[in-house]
């Protein structure tokens, strides 16, 4: 039972990683291309538009096409355009924008699919940093005596009592914006919970017989910590990582929304939401759609982490 219960969340993580790699390839349009901003801006979801290829001139797009004699009349903003049939270099092609377009006429679905890679990678890297720092601090605090423990836990308390966004804000004001900065800022403000869990686990392991035996056999504190305590203290880290991943995903998107996240032109789901906030009254889909991607991913990972926790830790409650 527990093996099967653990298989589901692991499968979810696998699917997620595969999605981060493959989803951008599934984008129906070039996510950054602005083929015809005037005609394609803020089309609602499920809109169809027509691409008209002309000889020696750039392609134009239209929301409707009618013929009058040998002239094509293209319905498009700001005013209709007439194109002679003889000027066409290819048949008129109709394309559907499943989730609509933004103010620059870019396809939202393609942008969300291509944004998935950076969103997932940044969150994953941030959690890796947090897990690394948290495990190190937790092991140091738990395995090397009460004085170091008291000091490190005091530091943990201080960072924990700091509102995370303000801390990241301060970092963002001091350094130039980059993906690395976002990863480090999120990682260095997210390790405290993991540190506490590892410390608690290490402290309880240190009193167990196998640890006493190792000490009795002459193992130094460093060897005891690395070879005996740390490997056994990693179970909570494993389950925390999933929960933290969802948190990091949401935190990164908040930062991108605030304008202190991943710098443009790179886009994450948070940046796409931010792109739409000024058009919310007229074009809600620009902000709402990428948020749905975020919520769905966070929910899937959160649910997976929850069931992983229940599978690995007997007696864990919701």
């Amino acid at each position: 039972m527990s093996g099967r219960a653990a298989a589901v969340p692991l499968a979810v993580f696998g699917v997620l990683l595969a999605a981060a790699g493959a989803l951008p390839l599934a984008a129906p349009f070039d996510p950054d291309a602005m083929p015809d901003t005037a005609a394609l801006r803020v089309l609602p979801p499920l809109s169809t538009a027509f691409r008209v290829a002309r000889r020696d001139r750039p392609d134009v797009w239209a929301t409707a096409v009618t013929t009058r004699g040998d002239v094509l009349i293209l319905e498009r903003a700001p005013r209709p355009l007439e194109v002679k049939l003889s000027d066409l270099s290819a048949p008129v092609e109709s394309r559907t924008f499943l989730l609509g377009t933004d103010q620059l006429g870019r396809d939202i679905l393609s942008r969300c699919l291509s944004g998935s890679r950076l969103s997932i990678l940044v969150a994953g890297a941030a959690v890796a940093v947090a897990a690394l720092v948290g495990t190190a601090v937790g092991t140091l605090a738990g395995a090397f005596g009460p004085r170091l423990d008291a000091g490190l836990m005091r530091v943990t308390d201080v960072v924990l009592s700091f509102p995370r966004v303000f801390l990241v804000l301060l970092l963002a004001s001091l350094f130039s914006r980059s993906v690395t900065l976002v990863v480090l800022a999120l990682g260095l403000t997210g390790w405290m919970g993991i540190a506490r869990q590892v410390r608690a686990e290490t402290l309880s392991l240190r009193a167990r017989e196998f640890a006493l035996a190792a000490t009795a056999l002459g193992a130094r504190p460093a060897r005891l910590a690395l070879r005996h305590l740390l490997p056994n203290a990693l179970t909570p880290v494993l389950t925390e990582i999933g929960l933290r991943f969802a948190g990091a995903l949401l935190a990164e998107s908040s930062l991108s929304y605030l304008g202190i996240g991943v710098p443009p032109p790179q886009a994450t789901w948070g940046t796409i939401v931010a792109d739409g906030r000024d058009s919310l009254a007229t074009a809600w889909w620009i902000s709402v759609v990428p948020g749905l991607f975020l919520v769905a991913t966070a929910l899937a990972v959160g649910a997976a982490a929850d069931s992983l926790r229940r599978a690995l830790i007997p007696g864990a409650r919701r």
Partner: protein, 326 residues
């Protein structure tokens, strides 16, 4: 109570000291000359020298640190580049609005959290906890800035019921108060709903513990309906540990308030900090960070003292100051 108060206050002071230390050294991580951070491009050389002396920027790190602590504790944060006024004054103007938003958000959070927890508890009692649990998890997975935008799109742009942004005109006249409340509704709901799942989970766990206590069994044995047992007997003691959870979730509340203020253009301290960041107004950014950290430490202290005041077991039983932390 007296000893607990002294011990807990002392521990808060140490944490506050740690928070300010953290801010000081983070600022010193700046790759360039730190004194540049305090250079207003519009200043002449004499004013620049005066500022450098005031912050001790021409002195070694240790004395800079002492000067930073001293001036922060006296609430002297220097002069804001973008507002051309003392930073303390600029921040003081925004604090009432942020406090109002955070207070209203906390109210919504407790209300929604308690409601969700009662729902969770009923489902658990019926042996069908999964669906309600998933609902809480779903709410947990919604970023507050996006929730805010969706609420604006529905209630402000779609239905036209509430204003989409701002805090309304200043003033305390009755008309203004109603207007202020209308402006407050959506931001407070956003902030509260973001924090509600955490409250709900802890309260539901607490309810589960309480429901196996003797007095609950007695209440049940008296023939009270499950509803009366839950609301009149189990809920009150189960709410006690939630006070500590509120204290611990204050950093989240303050972080959330910043995001919500930006989404709703609510002129509070968070929005001030973000605008200061974009204007490269470093004294203001640094001061906002310090004030936010200090506010959380103070709020945590208040929460723990309230908890101790209503639950004598807390102040008597625990000798460590990390009481009740998970």
């Amino acid at each position: 109570m007296g000893r607990y108060l002294v011990r807990r206050s002392f521990s808060s002071l140490v944490t506050l000291f740690g928070v300010l230390t953290l801010v000081f050294f983070l600022v010193r991580l700046h790759p360039g000359d730190v004194s540049l951070l305090y250079d207003d491009p519009g200043m002449d050389d004499a004013a620049r020298e005066a500022i450098r002396r005031a912050y001790g920027l021409d002195q070694p790190l240790a004395s800079q640190y002492v000067l930073f602590l001293a001036s922060t504790l006296r609430l002297e944060f220097g002069s804001s580049f973008s507002h051309h006024r003392p930073v303390a004054q600029v921040i003081a103007e925004t604090i009432p609005l942020t406090a109002l938003l955070a207070g209203a958000g906390l109210f919504v959070e407790l209300l929604a959290g308690t409601g969700l927890a009662l729902l969770l508890d009923r489902r658990r009692a019926a042996g069908r906890g999964t669906i309600a649990g998933t609902c809480v998890l779903a709410l947990h997975s919604i970023p507050s800035f996006w929730l805010g935008l969706v609420l604006v799109a529905v209630f402000a742009h779609g239905l036209g019921l509430l204003p989409p942004s701002g805090a309304g005109p200043p003033g305390a006249a009755a008309v203004h108060l109603v207007d202020r409340l209308r402006h407050l509704l959506l931001p407070a709901a956003t902030l509260g709903l973001a924090g509600a799942p955490a409250i709900a989970r802890h309260l539901a766990a607490s309810l589960e513990r309480v429901s196996s206590a003797d007095f609950v069994r007695t209440a049940r044995a008296k023939g009270l309906s499950p509803r009366a047992v839950l609301l009149r007997h189990a809920l009150k003691p189960a709410l006690l540990p939630v006070v500590t959870i509120v204290g611990l979730s204050l950093p989240l509340l303050v972080s959330g308030a910043l995001v919500v203020e930006v989404v709703f253009a609510w002129p509070g301290m968070g929005r001030l900090a973000i605008n200061a960041l974009h204007a490269r107004d470093y004294p203001l950014v640094i001061a906002c960070t310090a004030v936010a950290g200090a506010a959380v430490v103070a709020g945590g202290l208040v929460a723990d003292l309230v908890h101790a005041a209503i639950d004598p077991r807390v102040r008597d039983a625990h000798s460590s100051d990390r009481v009740g932390r998970p």
